[in-house]
Symmetry: C2
Subunit: 164 residues, 2 copies
């Protein structure tokens, strides 16, 4: 794959997220890419990401939907204005709401595929539909409503002063 992952374009001040930040050494560091009109991310859960024996814990699945969703939202926002992801100003999204339906138990010990599709781009809001595939079977469906981080917060973060 000759693309760089969406998350590699997050400015350093916004690359600390436990789910998707390239700078969070404890975190999942997920990597999302375009595959035509859909976005895709692969993730191998750890043995301790367990719910009941043999199955993945729902909180991890929710986290993957969440962070793949905000990454896809950012990529979609660049696409919507026909800008490359390495151009300024940087788009970064936060989750306003997250919905996850656990259709079937998701088996552990299998690399998961998280896929996303843009449902809506409207102003600073982007809605992403997602699904998780394990061994060819869709086990989870989800939806993320993502909102663009306010410009003043981007500026404050880049100055190391997020609370202001």
């Amino acid at each position: 794959m000759d693309q760089k992952p969406f998350q590699s374009y997050y400015p350093p001040s916004m690359a600390h997220c436990y789910g998707c930040g390239t700078l969070n050494e404890h975190g999942h560091q997920i990597k999302s890419y375009w595959e035509g009109e859909e976005s895709v991310c692969h993730f191998m859960p750890k043995p301790y990401h367990i719910a009941i024996p043999g199955y993945v814990y729902g909180g991890l699945l929710a986290s993957l939907v969440d962070c793949h969703g905000t990454g896809t939202a950012a990529a979609a926002a660049y696409r919507a204005v026909q800008r490359a992801m390495d151009t300024e100003p940087a788009f970064r999204f936060l989750t306003a709401s997250l919905h996850v339906d656990y259709l079937k138990p998701t088996p552990l010990d299998i690399e998961l595929e998280i896929r996303g599709k843009v449902k809506e781009v409207k102003g600073r809001k982007v809605v992403i539909q997602e699904w998780i595939v394990a061994n060819g079977i869709i086990t989870v469906r989800g939806e993320v409503v993502a909102v663009q981080v306010p410009d003043e917060m981007v500026e404050a973060l880049s100055k190391g002063n997020p609370g202001s």
Copy 2:
């Protein structure tokens, strides 16, 4: 508090969950209790549970809503049939769906309070409404639809054979 947490009643075969299992040494090991008609859980995020600097990552918040929800669902199921949580057969719930609204950024470095209220107990399904309070402010609202683990799965797990 003289109660034992809901999670301490999970049978060992179902106490491995990353979010709430007492036997998962890598996990969050959340502890939920009744406080009148509401359930409550306190959790201190780690510094690396970060979204953007200063704020908690949404995937953790979703996980807390998820696991506090299934714990409250189990406790509510015992209450509904007026049985103590240490009586057999054990009730254990899985999440069918999870919804989380992130109302405000949740500050890091503060102990969070996750609260739950039973919205509905109907057959093997329990719906729990939840909210997360940080520093006196509700930053998250969520809802979990939990379903009781099928009896045959409980039996298979207790025999160490979850896949059957």
